[in-house]
Symmetry: C2
Subunit: 229 residues, 2 copies
């Protein structure tokens, strides 16, 4: 047995190691190393996105992620505690930037129709035509088995977006631009977006779907001027 292995590592050593990985980059680093380190992390996340989004969490092999990232498997564990952490960090990294953008949009005070158009545009450009579409699909697929992840997504993303929408819709409703009912269910506005995301993953090849047109139609129907009740 010529491969001696160290069997002992004090609890504190283990803890230190765990803490390190949590930070997301191996130890401290300066200059060249720091840059390289960040690049590596990104490469791993990019590879993970590719693999996770085509194979799903369970069927993804970390060996494949490593190969795709041009890195040894062990390296992944220098940047992420384990497979699950990698997965969650990936989703976090992809979705977090969106929130600010959307909240900002809700703050602007424009006629709802214009806002609606902007929202549709934002959705198509920043989500539907983007890898974020796949991230949301993953969220839907794997979320039920990752309660922590679902909670993060709800608290940091959804709840905020819904709050912004509600505020916006309430203002519009007060002006009579929008029926009151919508304020209770902002989800209705986003519903076709969800349909589009799911459809694209399952049925696009049988029957392509014009997302923009569908969302436009939906908005037109919801916001069309009505006869008085």
């Amino acid at each position: 047995m010529s491969r001696p292995r160290t069997v002992n590592a004090t609890p504190s050593e283990r803890l230190a190691s765990a803490r390190r990985s949590a930070s997301g980059a191996p130890q401290r680093a300066t200059g060249k190393r720091k840059a390289r380190s960040a690049a590596r992390r990104d490469a791993i996340l990019a590879a993970a996105l590719e693999e996770f989004s085509t194979r799903g969490f369970g069927a993804t092999r970390l060996d494949d992620v490593a190969r795709r990232a041009g890195v040894a498997k062990g390296t992944i564990y220098l940047y992420f505690r384990d497979k699950e952490t990698l997965f969650q960090e990936l989703i976090r990294a992809m979705l977090t930037p969106l929130v600010g953008t959307i909240e900002a949009m809700g703050a602007v005070d424009l006629p709802v129709r214009q806002l609606a158009d902007r929202i549709v545009d934002l959705f198509v450009r920043e989500i539907y035509e983007t890898r974020r579409k796949d991230v949301i699909r993953m969220m839907i697929s794997e979320g039920p088995r990752f309660p922590k992840l679902a909670e993060f997504y709800y608290r940091e993303v959804l709840a905020r977006i819904i709050a912004a929408m509600r505020a916006l819709l309430a203002r519009a409703a007060a002006r009579g631009e929008v029926p009151e009912g919508l304020v209770d269910f902002p989800q209705i506005i986003a519903a076709p977006g969800l349909v589009a995301i799911v459809w694209s993953g399952l049925f696009e090849r049988f029957e392509p779907l014009d997302v923009r047109a569908m969302m436009k139609t939906h908005i037109d129907l919801l916001f069309a001027p009505r006869k008085a009740a």
Copy 2:
């Protein structure tokens, strides 16, 4: 999906096995045996539903399915060729009965509003408050990695429902009960249903959603009388 783990089995063996399993029951059977056989199959499917829908396809262990069904693991293989076949049969068995019901509904010629109410009711009673909700969730989650399954679902379920809806909407539009736009995107009608299914799996515990109310609101908004263009 998943890697084939069996490496040896002559083509003819495979065929024989396939032929038998395809029938869904071991050999021919009559009387008592036939009944027992059908019951077994059902027990396995029921157990599979339970396991697959909480753990997902990949993480479900056939050992667990067997235990839950009160059967030895090998027995599963008497009724289904492999894990994937079991999964697909399950979805097939759960969704197929729906199609007829929905198509029948589309054939009736009633004012859209009444039809809409019936459709909402059907959705809530036959899907949302049922295990079928979970089956559809599984379809969404696992579909992208089971092209065959997605195709079956599209051809046998979705396409038919959409066709029925389109016919119905076209009639209604001709009568001026419904805006023309809807005919192009029957998906819009179903969108909140999808939202409800996804929501229930991910966020119910943070923020319950009144599906009936949401769908009612949506329908009211879509079908409300409009000012003339």
